[in-house]
Symmetry: C3
Subunit: 151 residues, 3 copies
């Protein structure tokens, strides 16, 4: 299903809304938390919402050209295999596929300049999911008067 | 103290507000995170706010008929016994008692259809805390123009 | 750089905004999560936003006179030394320095009365970062009609 198909399907279901905005601060770097990032950005973009993501902390490792292993949360390590199986069995797209669909519909992804510096990551170390490297103040302004999730 | 008593007490304290809305995406499945779920849903409902909860990820295990063990976060495992003692000593209600009080005052709880599928959970596997099984797009529309916490 | 310098620098960059509000529920008690607390409170206060923090759960340990060790998340323990080095190399202020700058610009910090009770913490056990000890209902009213992050 293409991003446009998803948009059509969702819009038919819940109606188009162009007046609202979803912003996500993506901080957590464990693999499980990337699923809601994909799901909410894709669903919100398909609904016609403005979508902005600010990637910071350990989550930056999900957006580098050189791949990093995203660890599974210790408390739920035993569930990792059955979750992976369940996602395959129900044809759930990977988080980056969902985020790419959101981006085709206009979602923007910003890497945090401060934490990039702290972690020794330069602009050219990020992959094409990242639109720009900005500071927290710029993101707060972009996110203003919308809903913001801290994941 | 009944839910109505709580509502009266809180309203006397901070005043009734019927115009605003609190939504919670309940994703984390560790036991500690269920406390703020109970506290914020109950307080918001008692204040007259519209309250909507979207349960997804490992948190779905807190809402099944067949009980699941909710693990304590690894980093704070040593504090689990003293926290349990403190909650008993100060007569803090359990999270599900608080959420039930919120529901008596109108709060709604939705299980995420996608993650239910991934985890092999059907509508009939959830207990009576769950009002419906819906998709992320439906929840985003319900949550729109309110405050949304990602727990 | 003083708080006023930061404010000037940020305002020159993104413009002053006095009409909006950022609230943070600070629940997580791992050391890494205190960085975004510092960064977002400081950036938002410097932008002229109203800033309110509600400290609860394990995060209360970051605000006591008697210092508590804030654990590093298990999954990223191996990264702790390089992160600390990176913060020093890039001259990033500690989270409490950033929060103090936010407070000089008007940010308020409230400790959760219920969880303080559960954890056996009294008003006088908190350090000067804490402005008051209040309930969740009071905080919800303070946070209303703004953006709220749950960290």
């Amino acid at each position: 299903m293409s991003a446009t198909d998803v948009a059509s399907a969702v819009n038919a279901d819940v109606g188009k809304d162009t007046s609202s905005k979803l912003s996500i601060v993506m901080f957590s770097g464990t693999a499980d938390k990337f699923i809601p990032l994909g799901v909410f950005t894709q669903a919100a973009a398909a609904m016609g919402m403005e979508v902005n993501v600010f990637v910071t902390g350990f989550a930056l490792h999900g957006f580098t050209k050189e791949p990093h292993d995203l660890p599974f949360p210790t408390e739920f390590a035993a569930m990792a295999p059955s979750l992976a199986q369940g996602m395959e069995a129900t044809n759930v797209a990977t988080w980056d596929t969902m985020l790419r669909q959101a981006k085709e519909l206009g979602a923007k992804v910003y890497a945090c300049s401060m934490m990039s510096g702290v972690m020794g990551l330069k602009r050219e170390d990020f992959n094409d999911l990242v639109d720009d490297v900005v500071g927290a103040a710029t993101f707060l302004q972009v996110a203003e008067h919308g809903e913001t999730l801290f994941i």
